[in-house]
């Protein structure tokens, strides 16, 4: 409507977050209690699993793709656009990285760089396809990004299932990539993918706060009509932002393939559900990069803690998913209430 009535708070007020987390923990605890478990023990295991120094590498390793996919969602969201196609873009990135690593005749570091770049470009282009469809033909991105995931996943699955399948194993996967193409290890499961992701995260925050493009994107998110009136070229902005978003997804795919899996394996990139955890983290922060990264890290901690808890106690790790969902629901309720009373 107009003037005063549009004032909604995007970010939950600070007390809302601890409140939601508290309520989530309470409800989760009750669930554990009801199923005969010990909630204190469960939470202790989650905490240890996520935060004990010995477990940091694990948590960080899980956080790299999750925070990556958070940025994939947060970047367009900052401008009021939604990229639901993270899965497709992730798969394309992973597959292209694997193929480049297998078939490009390049020496060591060059091979890694080339594989990553190919993955980023391929995923970026695929994501900008959806943006182009909306600016050119008016196909809403909300629909097209989601729908474009299916052919990408399907084709990738076919390719590694048939023409590119590694005949040595019975699974739908490519051959192992050469050693030269593997990301250098920092320690344990951690590889330089972590550093790449930190660089990307810093770049996104910097872009948001300091650059003209970031300013224009933020203004678009707050009022697209205003941005257009002010001279922001909405169509090209949309294509550019979606390219960047897709490229980050491609990078995540490449890091997973070149850094942990060492081959493209059908389904392996999607099972952990990074895309959707990332989307939720981004939504929680209303697209604000720093908030989104914090939320992404929190979810990563929660999820790694969940694995530990499942290992140490009899409580299944879905509990952490329940926690995650409850926390989001409560924050969303706060949002809704805030909006109504304003």
């Amino acid at each position: 409507m107009s003037e005063r009535s549009v004032r909604t708070t995007r970010l939950p007020q600070i007390p809302a977050v601890p409140l939601a987390i508290g309520i989530g923990i309470l409800i989760g605890g009750l669930l554990v209690l009801a199923s005969g478990g010990d909630p204190i023990a469960a939470y202790r295991e989650i905490l240890i699993g996520a935060l004990a120094p010995a477990n940091w590498p694990n948590t960080l390793n899980w956080a790299v793709p999750l925070v990556g996919m958070t940025l994939v969602a947060a970047l367009p969201l900052r401008g009021g656009m939604v990229n639901l196609g993270g899965d497709g873009q992730l798969v394309i990135g992973g597959l292209v990285a694997a193929l480049a690593a297998l078939y490009l005749p390049l020496p060591g570091p060059l091979l890694i760089t080339a594989s990553i770049l190919c993955a980023m470009i391929a995923s970026g282009l695929y994501a900008s396809l959806a943006a182009w469809g909306e600016t050119r033909f008016g196909i809403p991105m909300l629909i097209s990004t989601l729908l474009l995931s299916y052919p990408a996943i399907g084709v990738a699955s076919y390719l590694v299932g048939f023409p590119l399948r590694d005949m040595a194993t019975g699974l739908a996967q490519t051959r192992m990539i050469p050693d030269a193409a593997r990301l250098p290890v920092i320690s344990g499961p951690l590889n330089i993918g972590l550093i790449l992701m930190i660089v990307v995260a810093i770049a996104v925050v910097f872009y948001d706060r300091r650059t003209v493009g970031g300013y224009e994107l933020r203004m678009r998110g707050l009022n697209a009509k205003f941005a257009g009136y002010g001279g922001v070229r909405l169509a090209s902005q949309q294509v550019r932002v979606m390219f960047a978003s897709g490229a980050i997804a491609g990078l995540v795919g490449a890091i997973l393939v070149l850094g942990s899996l060492y081959r493209y394996q059908d389904g392996a990139l999607l099972t952990p559900g990074y895309t959707w955890s990332g989307l939720m983290a981004a939504l929680l922060a209303g697209g604000a990069p720093l908030g989104a990264i914090a939320a992404g890290l929190f979810f990563a901690g929660l999820q790694t803690g969940g694995f530990a808890m499942q290992r140490e106690t009899a409580i299944p790790r879905v509990l952490t998913m329940v926690l995650q969902a409850v926390i989001i629901l409560f924050l969303a309720i706060r949002h809704g209430v805030g909006r109504k009373s304003s």
Binding site: R4, V6, N223, F226, G230, G231
Partner: protein, 513 residues
């Protein structure tokens, strides 16, 4: 006379800011009571408290002898209050009639009787001579037409006490007179009107008493017939304000904006903008007069690149910009004050600094093209806030909390500071106080004298008459007539705006297109 509504000791705080500071207001039954004050003085805040939309931090409201404790506007409506909001409260995706009957729909067998509702709304509009199409979607209407819808909505509810918060800001003289007839009719029926406006002649014409706010406090109460516009201004501002614009004759130069055969079609119906030709030269102010809804909004959208036209050409400084986006219009030399400050002119949730930076973000000193200099953004905002007297705590605050007039100043400040060769100003002084009108008018003339071409669209004829060197009258999508300022007067323009060319007695040198 009996007291209809009395408020005592009303206090309203927004954080550190006190918007109403122990305000007392007493309104008699059957009177028209003006509430006046500069932008940000607290008028709208007080009105929304009386209407139950905001809860006061302290104070009592007594309506017809009974103390009221409103939990929401619904309680106030139930008690017979009605309000026309300065910041429209309309559902943009619904039709006019849906907006008007909302909450009080006529029903038939438990369902909304759509035909009856639309009929009633049409009848109401007819009776009060407010031209609207009940079936039009509100979001597509110009601000002037939306203003009529907002008035209709309040009238439909048949309130005992009607609050009008700047209802005439975008009405034409005819419509304003129509509204005054309605007001007289209502007060004759012993209803009470609270009237907020910045237009002194309206206060003198229609109101019985005046309460003046300054800096959130009541500073004066007057009886209209015993006071003068000058005295009211002095009470509001503490100084004398020059109401006439001083300007020398125009010195038109080269053509800056040119449109040929510009046409905007509607789905099926006849064009809203119909083969318009116009040329605006450097160093002149051209006014477009017209009753809202005669195609001015669409014409301006087509001229600025916000809307792709269906025919004709537009060029700025000789560059053909017909099919180009706003960015390229701005590159070619356009600055633009849109009529709708809340949905087009600003991002309400963004800070004043960010709002004021728009359009400057790619150039020095605010950036080097890719990196934004935040200090420059801040100091740019501070300068403009200072120069235009925007009442805001800090440039980092979101502009959504600003009063209507202050929000308008943000838009005007930004666009004027572009110093562009071409300025299109739509209702540039909508809702700003007398002091600010004086200032903005002065700035528009300065813009002209600097060699800028200014296209002014305004519902306020006095504004057009005061500023324009040449006046174009728009009627039914066409430029009906063009006349030099010397020959334009309220009466002639009024007739032309109603489409009555023959009655307007145009003299030679004036063209009826």
């Amino acid at each position: 006379m009996t007291i209809e509504l009395e408020a005592t000791g009303i206090v309203k705080r927004y954080g550190p800011l006190v918007a109403n500071d122990h305000v007392d207001l007493s309104v008699l039954r059957g009177e028209v009571h003006a509430v006046m004050g500069e932008n940000g003085a607290g008028k709208s805040t007080l009105m929304s408290i009386l209407y139950g939309m905001q809860q006061p931090d302290a104070g009592r409201i007594v309506l017809r002898g009974a103390e009221m404790h409103y939990r929401s506007a619904l309680d106030a409506i139930g008690a017979g209050m009605g309000m026309v909001h300065q910041a429209f409260k309309l559902f943009n995706s619904l039709t006019v009639w849906e907006n008007v009957v909302y909450g009080m729909e006529p029903t038939r067998f438990g369902f909304i009787d759509r035909r009856e509702a639309a009929r009633r709304v049409a009848a109401l509009a007819e009776r009060y001579r407010l031209q609207v199409d009940p079936n039009a979607v509100v979001g597509r209407l110009s601000v002037g037409v939306r203003q009529r819808v907002e008035i209709l909505k309040a009238l439909y509810r048949d309130a005992r006490v009607l609050i009008l918060d700047e209802p005439t800001a975008v009405l034409t003289p005819q419509e304003r007179d129509g509204l005054f007839d309605i007001i007289r009719y209502l007060t004759a029926d012993d209803r009470t009107i609270l009237f907020v406006t910045h237009k002194l002649h309206e206060v003198m014409a229609i109101t019985d008493r005046v309460t003046v706010l300054r800096d959130s406090k009541v500073v004066d109460r007057m009886v209209t017939s015993e006071t003068s516009a000058r005295e009211i201004i002095r009470a509001m501002t503490g100084r004398a304000v020059n109401l006439t614009v001083e300007k020398s004759p125009a010195n038109p130069g080269a053509v800056v904006l040119e449109a040929r055969g510009l046409t905007v079609a509607t789905d099926g119906g006849k064009p809203v903008v119909d083969r318009v030709d116009l040329a605006i030269r450097a160093g002149e102010i051209v006014g477009i007069a017209g009753v809202a809804g005669n195609g001015q909004t669409e014409l301006i959208e087509a001229l600025t690149g916000l809307r792709i036209s269906d025919g004709g050409t537009v060029s700025i400084h000789g560059t053909d910009v017909t099919a180009l986006d706003v960015e390229r219009h701005r590159d070619a030399g356009l600055a633009y004050i849109p009529e709708d400050r809340a949905t087009t002119g600003t991002a309400l949730a963004a800070s004043a600094a960010d709002n004021l930076a728009m359009g400057f973000q790619r150039k020095p000193p605010l950036s080097n093209g890719s990196l934004l200099d935040r200090n420059a953004v801040t100091s740019h905002a501070k300068t403009l806030i200072e120069r235009f007297g925007v009442k805001i705590g800090s440039e980092q605050l979101a502009v959504g909390t600003l009063s209507g007039g202050n929000l308008q100043k943000v838009v005007v400040a930004r666009e004027l500071s572009h110093r562009a060769p071409l300025l299109i100003a739509e209702q540039p002084t909508r809702g700003v106080d007398v002091g600010a009108i004086e200032f903005i008018h002065g700035q528009l003339v300065a813009e002209r004298d600097r060699g800028g071409a200014v296209l002014l669209v305004s519902a306020e004829l006095t504004e057009i008459l005061a500023l324009a060197d040449r006046v174009l009258v728009m009627f039914d999508g066409r430029i009906l007539a063009e006349l030099p300022a010397a020959e334009a007067d309220e009466e002639t323009l009024g007739l032309l705006m109603a489409g009555r060319v023959r009655d307007a007695h145009l003299t030679d040198g004036t063209e009826a297109a």
